[in-house]
């Protein structure tokens, strides 16, 4: 099953200069990339290099100025925002640096969110299962403010994997955590990925984390190169 789940061709992103004066600002310049099913790709690079920008374009959260992205064989350029959202639904997971749990919802409800969007039956049981898988079964009814950062990120992992996605985007998933906690999260992330066999696009500063991926790419000043 060597088919491609994500394919980017000559992606460029420029934005207008802050106050409309001066030349446009180039964030990404002619980036191409392809991710096969089940493959784990790490994107590393210094701060400000454009990693998050790239991730946003690949996931269809933002639109490129130039170039194209194909996700699951569908061209994102041809879709409007809602079309891209529909494409992600149930098939794409996210793990963010700052967790992004909804503060008003309990851990279990946060996990249920993606299941409900995917239209999964008995989402309550599935959410509980997913939480159990990250070792948080007994914290299911707690709201994010009652959880530590590491616990919050584990809830986020449960949320991302509950729907059994084909593609997972992670932007600095351990960036807000201390080293030990970060490692636990990384272990869980890779364990869950191995189980589900989903493709992973991982943005990180952390070279040991990157080392666990199948392939490493380096971003510098908006350009992407294969790692040395």
């Amino acid at each position: 099953m060597e088919h491609t789940v994500l394919q980017a061709q000559s992606l460029s992103k420029t934005v207008a200069a802050p106050h409309g004066d001066g030349p446009d600002l180039s964030l990404l310049d002619d980036v191409s990339l392809s991710v096969s099913a089940g493959e784990a790709v790490a994107v590393i690079g210094p701060s400000g290099a454009g990693k998050s920008t790239l991730l946003g374009l690949l996931a269809g959260l933002d639109q490129s100025t130039d170039g194209s992205v194909e996700m699951f064989g569908a061209s994102l350029n041809a879709l409007d925002e809602d079309g891209r959202a529909a494409l992600r639904r149930g098939r794409v997971g996210f793990v963010f640096q700052n967790f992004q749990l909804l503060p008003g919802l309990s851990a279990q409800e946060n996990v249920k969110l993606t299941l409900e969007l995917a239209g999964t039956a008995n989402s309550d049981a599935r959410a509980a299962e997913a939480l159990a898988a990250v070792g948080l079964a007994e914290r299911a009814q707690h709201v994010p403010a009652q959880l530590s950062g590491g616990e919050q990120q584990r809830v986020a992992l449960a949320r991302a994997f509950a729907v059994k996605p084909q593609l997972l985007f992670a932007d600095e998933p351990t960036g807000n955590l201390d080293q030990a906690t970060g490692e636990t999260i990384a272990d869980q992330l890779f364990a869950l990925r191995d189980q589900s066999g989903c493709a992973l696009v991982l943005v990180t500063h952390d070279s040991t984390l990157a080392a666990r991926c199948d392939r490493r790419l380096v971003m510098r000043g908006g350009r992407l190169d294969a790692a040395d």
């Binding site: 998050s52 991730l55 946003g56 996931a59 959260l61 933002d62 925002e81 809602d82 959202a85 529909a86 494409l87 992600r88 639904r89 149930g90 794409v92 997971g93 996210f94 963010f96 700052n98 992004q100 909804l102 503060p103 008003g104 969110l113 993606t114 969007l117 995917a118 950062g149 932007d171």
Partner: protein, 828 residues
Amino acid sequence: MPLIDSLRRGVGSALAAEGRVVVFALALAVAAVSGVGFFTERVGGALSARADDMLGGDLLLRDNHPLPEVVASEIETLDLQFVSLLTFPSVALNADDDSALVSVKVVEAGYPLRGELATSTARFGGESLTGDIPEPGEFWVEERLLSELGAELGDTLYVGSLGFPVTRVITYESDRGGSLFQIAPRVMFNRADLAAAELLGEGSRVRYTTQLVGDVNALETLQESLSEQAHPGLRVETVSDARPQVQNSLDRVGRFLGMAAMLTVLVAGAAVAVSLQEQVARASDEAAVRRAFGATHREVLLRVLRLLGWQAALGIVIGLVLGLALQGAISSVLSFLFTTELPAPGAGPVIAGAATAIVTLAGFGLPAVLGIQRVPVMRVLRKEMGAPPPAAWAVIGSAVLALAVLLLWQARDVVLAGLVLGALLGATAVLYALAAGLQWLAGRVAGNLRPGWRFGVAAIARRGAAGRLQLTATGLGLLSMLLLSTVGTDLLRTWQRELPADLPNLFLVNVQTDAADDVQARLEELTGDAVEIYPMTRGRLVALNGTPVTPEDFPEEARRTVGREWNLTSSETLRADNIITAGEWWEPGAQVSEVSLEDELAVRMGVSLGDTLTLRVAGVDVDATITSLREVDWDNFKPNFFAILHPSVREGLATTFMTSVRLNDNQRDGAVADIVRDYPGVTALDVRSLIERISGLIDAGASAVRYTLVLTLLAGAVVLIAGVQASTAVRVRESALQRVLGASRDEVRWSVLGEFATLGAAAGIVAAVVATLAGQLVARLVFDVTLTPSIWPLIVGPVGSGAGLALAGWLAARGAASQPPGVLLRRL
């Protein structure tokens, strides 16, 4: 139980965090609008019921002849209920042939169709409502007649050829009409005795009255056909012809309540706007995350709308319950007005309340909520990417539109609604400009303050547009609270003045000169208080500036007054409740032929200072020159006079005395009867029933004002809380940072206190000044009363709001001050 589950969930989401403020603010707006709606509906009902009472029916036909056959048969065809009455002046005699002018009313079973007849079986005894009419062979009379003729209950009186015992005293007759003092005392007897009375001969001035009740359409049909048939002399009277005396006061209550409701809605709207801002900010975060995981725009928007829907529903339900409680409280004060059970409150106020909630929420929240659709999904990766704020014109436009709709609904008057809207926008603009000014100033002065305070004041400058909105909303809340409480308390005070607790409920007239001192002394002993007794003579105007005049020589509007005998009094000194509007009151001790005239009558008659009136009193003519004009408060239930003569003019004229006192039932027991027995000429006018009914209405109005004031104050408090809550998150974060960067707890506390106290005081000063000015205007233009200028709002406003806001802010931010910096750091 999936239904209960989703209900619980919906309510839970609606009440989460800022949602509570949104719901409570909406509830207050709904409560104000529906409560006031319920009240006006019921008072309106009460008033028209009273007007019906005063007619004695829904429709009245009056004529100097019996009802034409055609009309009578039409009434029968239309299936209307009716009774016929005759009234005419006559003379009543006692056994000693003493006579008195009386006003006879001949009634038949069923009278009165509307309203009340109250009687007593003892002189000056307790009254009770009656459904009866006099039996054939008996008279019911007013107390006045008994005292005029020196008769007792049970004595036989003679009217025409009838000689019947008096079996009851009439104490209240809601359709009596006419002025208390003008009409001769009533004698009422049964229609069956009419023929035997032999009173309807040539020249008798009989008025035939038919009271009608029945189906509204049938009544209208009758009215139409009467106006087509042309029956000369037949007059049709409807409810609109009968205005209860207290209508003016109640009109004012209505206007005040309307204004209070409008302001409450406005203030609640401001609270909704402020707290929705925060709710929308939170919802934007959620929307971005949901969209990243594949939710569509529509789903995200529906979610937020569903949340607002829950909040609206909760606000409406809570508000209606509050509104019903409010009107229940008011109605219980009013209950004496209704002899029958009130119908259940109508749907009108319920719909108005619900519509208010929806319009408020939509007008103040929709632009922000719709903005959620524009939140970029990239926000999940780059926090600083927010939705572009909704266009200012959209926010302002929709708020103004909502306000216009609400005001128009409340005021039902385009001009009034426009004026209020204009004033509100003006006040808002002033507040916003001042908020901007304050921010600018705070930025300037902050550097010179002590450290803790300095952070706080500098923070005001940092808040930007959100801070200006908060300050404006706070100012509007304070403004409304201050405005309503000053105008409201002043209205209440005015009414208390108009209807003091010691309102006289007994008038004694025809007190002879030799009896005056003793009557006065007895009354003073009874009441334990000074009792004023006024000399009174009756005189007719016969000449103006030496030229004989008749009523026809005067403008139309003065003829009736000029044609009547005037009650004249005389006095050395000016009574406090009379105000000289032109000329001067006489110096004490002088010997002058002068008269002081009521100013409106002077205008109607076209006379002015310097004109000389010739008055004929019991055959004697006296001249008096007008040297002053007075404003008289006719509604104060004290003896009031068109003309006051200088004492030297009255000398030698036939004079009696009159007085008015308030007696409770114990004091009245026997004492009044004694006076009337000892001085047979004295006439006692018992107005207890009337006074009770009037002061009851006023009380109801006053309590309505009080209850709505409380609502508005609550709404004001909510807007303050909303403002504080809206910025708590930012402040906690800032406080935490300050702590982390080395500020002490005290400094952090002072910073929060300083910011809120300064904000509160600034908003308070502006609000107090604007409220004081607006209060004067509103009182004068809308309520027709003069506001007593007071310094209190200017003190209470700034101090109260400064302290209140500081307290609220401190409570909200105290968590940040008390926790160790390490804990805070993790939360940032």
